[in-house]
């Protein structure tokens, strides 16, 4: 969007230097992409909300399928924003409201007997608010006779401070649209019938009125949460300002987001750990079987911010000077290494996603002893780990690694930490 155009004079003189991208320009692009991706998330979430209203007005297999499709479409841009989380408290503190995972879904609605009941960690794992108008949470009586956005956000979500009491966000909506995936490591997603939303005698599994209230309330919350983040990345918004405030810190935030998402979160917590647990519940989008797209789009988000290029859901491009330009100026070979490694990861993510789209479900890949599935997942994991090593090299190359030390109380005055 803000790419420098060569002046005619520069062309005539033949003095065409490599673009000297400034840190400020790179940060502009980064914030513009963030704004566009959150806005795309909001646009597609509004479409989801419309599809859910249509489902509620007339619950059929067709309207349920359309709502599911709208949910999957809404995940595409959102997952590309995850690279904005780590290293940016404004995003990270908010993120739990929209994308918390994993969840003990028995808090929300009915579950299969195999789910079990309360656990050591979560006494409310099977509270089932849709079926119960009166609840007791951590010794407090809760009136849940009306399911409202406020009940979900203020009382149910993270009830009793327990992380897996996820009552809002994409995954709560996903559970309500698909239901539990009871196929284990066999193919297939959740199979909730459309009749779960039918009012009156044909309602299945009980409390269809409350289920609909829950679904629409959770969707309303998602919209207001996304509106908040779009505003935060707009001109003058808090997230944009935080990144612009100090240019070096802003670049550090970009690289921290890229590295933390690639390594600890995605390669580690989400992909390798799930594989080693062989547990289909460890799928990131377990109800819908959309995990392969989540992983793909997380990877793509990292590549977007490095290259300074994002393709919007309407096909238009947001682009400008990226971290890539900064690195290339300082060390062209290192930029080439980073670009190549991001391509390798995305090739592995594409293989994984294509395999799943062609019928080799992510659940099946997780099965103990499934070597083909393990290879698909581990290729992507290894790509992510390898690109993280290069991100570290970039931090050194741009001489950002010692900045954390400057201005640290404990280092200026070691005794400060003992007081």
């Amino acid at each position: 969007m803000k790419r420098t155009t060569l002046t005619a004079t520069a062309l005539i003189l033949g003095a065409v230097p490599a673009f000297a991208a400034t840190k400020g320009e790179v940060l502009d692009t980064y914030a513009d992409i963030g704004h566009a991706a959150y806005e795309d998330s909001l646009i597609t979430a509004r479409a989801l909300s419309g599809a859910i209203d249509a489902l509620v007005a007339n619950p059929t297999e067709v309207t349920l399928a359309a709502a599911r499709e709208a949910w999957i479409a809404a995940r595409e841009p959102y997952q590309q924003t995850e690279v904005y989380r780590f290293g940016n408290p404004i995003v990270d503190d908010w993120e739990g409201k929209v994308n918390a995972w994993p969840l003990d879904e028995g808090l929300i609605d009915y579950v299969d007997a195999s789910y079990g009941g309360p656990t050591d960690e979560n006494p409310f794992a099977s509270v089932n608010v849709i079926a119960n108008e009166q609840l007791t949470i951590a010794g407090q009586e809760v009136d849940a006779s009306d399911i409202t956005p406020e009940l979900i956000s203020d009382t149910l979500n993270e009830a009793d401070g327990i992380e897996t009491n996820v009552a809002r966000g994409y995954h709560a909506i996903e559970f309500l649209l698909w239901g539990q995936d009871l196929n284990g490591t066999d193919p297939g997603a959740g199979e909730r019938p459309h009749t779960d939303f039918v009012q009156g005698d044909d309602c299945t599994n009980g409390n269809c009125d409350r289920r609909v209230d829950y679904l629409q309330s959770a969707t309303d919350l998602l919209l207001s949460d996304l509106e908040e983040m779009v505003a935060a990345w707009d001109e003058g918004g808090a997230a944009r300002e935080a990144v612009m405030d100090d240019e070096d810190q802003g670049i550090i935030a970009i690289l921290t987001g890229m590295g933390s998402l690639s390594y600890g979160e995605q390669a580690g917590e989400r992909m390798r750990l799930g594989l080693m647990l062989n547990d289909p519940e460890e799928e990131h989008d377990c109800f819908s079987d959309n995990t392969h797209r989540s992983h793909y789009n997380d990877g793509l988000g990292v590549q977007n911010v490095y290259l300074g290029r994002y393709e919007r859901v309407d096909g238009s491009l947001v682009e400008g000077p990226g971290v890539s330009d900064l690195v290339a100026e300082s060390n062209a070979a290192l930029d080439e290494e980073m670009t190549r490694k991001l391509d390798i990861t995305m090739a592995a993510m594409t293989d994984l996603s294509d395999a799943a789209e062609n019928g080799f479900a992510y659940d099946q890949m997780l099965e103990a002893g499934n070597e083909e599935g393990e290879a698909l997942i581990m290729n992507a994991v290894n790509g992510l780990i390898d690109q993280t090593a290069t991100i570290e090299r970039i931090v050194s190359e741009l001489e950002l690694d010692m900045i954390e030390f400057e201005g640290s109380d404990s280092l200026d005055n070691p005794n400060a930490v003992f007081q």
Binding site: E121, E163, Y263, L273, L277, D279, E281, I391, S396
Partner: protein, 325 residues
């Protein structure tokens, strides 16, 4: 790195980097020790599987593991997860072991198949359930659970042996940064950073997770989220991890670290005030305060290492495996 004068390049050569000391004097010998203690635990378990008789060798092997448990580079990146899967936020260990026992899953008779089992049902934390949880540890010779315990110790011994062997292959990569074909560590500073990142990650994990999880919110402590509370190892885990980080810092710095040593001594002193090593008494505010103070003392160890090792040698940490949520 591009403008470094020649003298700095020489100073960054392996001989001065401390990586050799960290690998040869710390990591490799501790891997050998872990392997020996895991083997001995398994030999005793094959002779007598009963829970009570295995408590001492269990502690010995776990102690040995703690010296290297938080190192997540090379083969340890993968292996550490199946040796010590924790925290287990969704109760997978209990679920998986219960299922094996209810179904009398024949996997326990097949050591190779067991290596493919869910990591929730392998390693120290699965074994801890079998030895210390009253719902699991009441078994005798001939019971399925006896065979399960033996499968766990055998698998642990095999994992320890394999890890040691894999490290023998990996060590040259760490020790020869910049050598032809070494794409992992391009120069000594990268190998140094890798070690430094590990030791800081140990301390961060200890304060944020080992101590932070049970502490919970001030009004809402979570004692059953303490690490290895059933075997009353929670305090020991945190202390051993802190000591491991300090030992590794000494190896890396190859010099005296007076502030770090003083901070460690203060942490040990604070640990002496903790009366329940499994932290089950932290509902009591005075007991809780003691644990919070320990957390602060361990944070102080981290700061001291940042000053005496990081700042002094110009090493900044890279990304670590707990950087996610």
């Amino acid at each position: 790195m591009k403008h470094l004068p020649l003298i700095a390049v020489l100073a960054a050569s392996p001989a001065f980097s401390g990586v050799e000391e960290a690998a040869n004097d710390y990591i490799l010998p501790n891997l050998a020790k872990f392997s020996e203690t895991a083997r001995s635990l398994n030999e005793l378990a094959q002779a007598n599987c009963e829970a009570e008789t295995l408590e001492d060798p269990f502690h010995t092997a776990f102690d040995a593991w703690m010296a290297i448990s938080d190192i997540r580079i090379g083969p340890s990146e993968h292996a550490a997860l199946s040796i010590s899967f924790w925290p287990d936020k969704r109760g997978f260990t209990e679920k998986t072991l219960s299922r094996y026992i209810a179904e009398e899953d024949p996997i326990v008779a097949d050591q190779v198949a067991f290596q493919e089992a869910s990591i929730a049902a392998r390693g120290f934390f699965a074994l801890e359930r079998m030895l210390y949880d009253p719902d699991f540890n009441d078994y005798a010779e001939g019971d399925y659970s006896c065979a399960l315990t033996r499968a766990l110790t055998r698998d642990l011994a095999v994992q320890a042996f394999n890890l040691q062997a894999e490290w023998a292959d990996f060590a040259p990569t760490l020790l020869n940064p910049g050598a032809e074909g070494n794409a992992t560590y391009l120069d000594a500073s990268e190998a140094q950073r890798a070690i430094y990142t590990q030791l800081l990650a140990t301390l961060e994990f200890t304060t944020a997770t080992r101590l932070g999880r049970p502490l919970g919110e001030p009004a809402r402590p979570r004692p059953t989220r303490a690490e290895a509370w059933r075997s009353e190892r929670s305090l020991r885990q945190s202390l051993l991890a802190t000591e491991a980080a300090v030992d590794l810092a000494h190896a890396l710095a190859n010099s005296d670290l007076p502030e770090t040593d003083a901070a460690l001594a203060a942490a040990r002193e604070q640990a002496d005030t903790i009366t329940d090593p499994s932290f089950q008494d932290i509902e009591d505010l005075t007991k809780r305060l003691n644990l919070e103070l320990l957390q602060q003392r361990i944070e102080a160890v981290e700061h001291a290492i940042e000053v005496e090792v990081g700042a002094r040698f110009g090493i900044a940490p890279g990304f670590n495996s707990s950087d996610g949520d």
